[in-house]
C-alpha cells in the first residue's frame, strides 16, 4: 500500500476510531492482498510507511467477496461488478482475507 494512502488511513483511524472502519479492496490478483491486509491490521510489514508499527486491526474485505456483494443492491451489482466477477478469481483472496479477519 502506498505511503500516501497509509497516511490517510492512519488519520481516519485517529478521527473515527479504527473499530468504526472497514477497508474494502478491489485488487485484480491475489498477489499483494496479504500485504494490504497486514498493513491495516498489524502494521506496514516494510516498516517504511506511516503505518509501520501501528496495529490498527481494521477488518479487510474484497468487494467481490460474498459478504460485500450481498450488501450491494442487485441492479448496481449487475451493472458495476458482474463483469469483474468473470475475470477476477476471488477464492484465493477470500481465503487470505478470511484468515486475516479471523485473527482480529
Amino acid at each position: 500500500m502506498n505511503f500516501e494512502n497509509q497516511g490517510v488511513i492512519k488519520r481516519l483511524a485517529d478521527q473515527y476510531g479504527p473499530e468504526n472502519l472497514t477497508v474494502v479492496l478491489g485488487n485484480g490478483e491475489a498477489n499483494g492482498v496479504e500485504v494490504f491486509a497486514e498493513t491495516v491490521t498489524e502494521g506496514d510489514p516494510s516498516y517504511a510507511g506511516p503505518l509501520a508499527g501501528v496495529a490498527l486491526k481494521i477488518p479487510v474485505y474484497h468487494v467481490l467477496e460474498e459478504e460485500v456483494m450481498t450488501e450491494v443492491p442487485d441492479k448496481m451489482r449487475e451493472e458495476k461488478l458482474q463483469l469483474s466477477t468473470l475475470v477476477i478469481d476471488i477464492e484465493p483472496m477470500h481465503q487470505v482475507l478470511e484468515a486475516s479477519r479471523a485473527k482480529l
Binding site: L12, T22, V68
Partner: protein, 41 residues
Amino acid sequence: MLKGRKIIAIGERDGVPGPVIAECLEGAGYEVVFQATECFV
C-alpha cells in the same frame, strides 16, 4: 465487521477501481470516508 462501519475503498486499476467500490457501497447505504485507486506495475 461490515455493518455500521465507515468504508475505506482501496481499488486497483487492473481490478475494481476505487470509485466503483465507493459507488456500490454508498448504494448499499454505507458511508465511504476515503477512496483511492492503486496501481501495481
